[in-house]
């Protein structure tokens, strides 16, 4: 479980996050939703420590992450897996080397053990016979799956996904969503997804946090969204004709 307690963040004169508090629950898919430029990516980057918060606390299972030094954070960071928007695979390494990279850095596994673990993780994301390929030789959807394989290689307790469906076709998007859901349930991890994909919100979102103008405007489940009277949330979620039709039907 990750607790975010009253955090604020400014860049220059611009207040990007203001007094955001929320709890990301273990074993659940926690979604951060909101329009572009509303602060959801900054919130996620603050939670994982890529940005330092100006005010407030971030607690990983009670451990105050925001007050730790770089060295003190290392054990927690090794419990974190992250899927970046573009995959962020290392260009110079093969698919297998990408997956085994954290194992090489933080474990004393033999080459054979690392290879076995990489094969297991790649099979888990339905990828086979790609071990020796470079990231430039595989498709966008495959890159996302390799990134998930790398993220789960160290058996993380916390999985962060930044826009996991961006740039993917609808079928591959559903595949990635289902994969994240399966992994969350299988390993009982705390998963946090940053998205504005309404299909993801409605199909796998268990706990949803809506960020608007740097503040938490709404919190609830995907069912609650349908009944919500929050104007800003409705303007965002039901912006498309298709989603309006879904709400009317509901």
């Amino acid at each position: 479980m990750i607790e975010v307690d009253n955090i604020s963040k400014t860049f220059g004169d611009k207040q990007v996050l203001e007094g955001v508090s929320c709890v990301f629950e273990q074993g659940k898919i926690n979604l951060i939703i909101g329009g572009s430029g509303q602060g959801k990516t900054v919130l996620m980057k603050c939670v994982v420590g890529l940005f330092e918060v100006d005010k407030g606390r971030i607690l990983y299972d009670g451990r105050n992450f925001s007050e730790m030094s770089f060295g003190e954070r290392k054990p927690i960071r090794q419990e974190i897996g992250m899927l970046f928007q573009g995959g962020a695979l290392f260009d110079s390494l093969t698919v297998e080397q990408n997956v085994t990279f954290p194992l090489s850095m933080f474990t004393n596994m033999s080459a054979a053990e690392k290879r076995d673990r990489a094969n297991f993780c790649l099979q888990r994301v339905n990828l086979e016979n790609v071990n020796k390929l470079l990231p430039s030789a595989i498709s966008g959807g495959m890159k996302k799956r390799v990134a998930i394989a790398r993220a789960i290689a160290m058996n993380p307790k916390y999985l962060f996904c930044d826009e996991p469906n961006s740039g993917l076709d609808p079928k591959t998007s559903i595949l990635i969503d289902e994969l994240i859901k399966e992994i969350t349930e299988e390993y009982n991890i705390t998963t946090i997804i940053n998205t504005h994909d309404m299909n993801t919100v409605m199909s796998i979102g268990e706990k949803i946090i809506f960020i608007y103008k740097g503040k938490k405007y709404w919190e609830g489940s995907s069912d609650d969204i349908m009944r919500s009277t929050n104007q800003e949330l409705n303007d965002f979620v039901f912006a498309s004709r298709w989603m309006k039709a879904v709400k009317q039907h509901f």
Binding site: V48, G49, L50, R73, R77, F84, G86, A88, F90, M105
Partner: protein
Amino acid sequence: MSNTLYEVGRYSVFIKSLFYKPEKFSIYVRQVFREMVNLGIGSLWLVALTSAFMGAVITIQSAYNLVNPMVPLWAVGVVARDSIIIEFSPTIIMLVLAGKVGSNIASEIGTMRVTEQIDALEIMGINSSGYLVLPKIIAAIIICPVVVIVSMIIGITGGWIAGDLSGVVPSADYLKGLQNQFLPFNVTFAMIKTVVFAFIITSVPAYHGYYTNGGALEVGQSSTKGVVNSSILILIFDYILTQLILA
């Protein structure tokens, strides 16, 4: 002025961040060897070509300028040898490497920054600056003196061949000049300069690449800044070291 001070301060913080305890020493050592191949072996043909022609030009120009009958012809060999050892090999070759290696480092690290690969390293708990930059600096400090010594040998040989083939300086005179009044300290001085320049041509472009913000355009700008700033710093430190050590 305040911007320059800000850059100097941030560069100092960046350099300090390289020296955190490595996550796994063996991986860093492997990286150093890989970078030595990239930086050194990968640049050898360029260094050889530049040095050969540089030596040839120095020899012919020296012979052209030393027209006084009071000056013996073997003096061309002395001038060529000392010019190549003290100045041309350590400074010009390192300026050439600043262009090749510097742009490569800045664009590689800059691309990793804008594609979030550096963020991915940080998330894993890896000191990204240490992992990406320190092996490059250590590799350059080890391999650049070797490259510069190779450059000295090729440059002097190039001068010998050019002088002999053009008939400007006969082999016997050139070889006599090479052996005349040789100061081994000149090589030591050249090595000191090379080590300082090796640090500059790796750390400055790496710094610019590491703090790239934006996309492909900014990666290109970082690469240009890295090469320009490291070239300027090489010239400034060339003067400072010459003043400190030789004056």
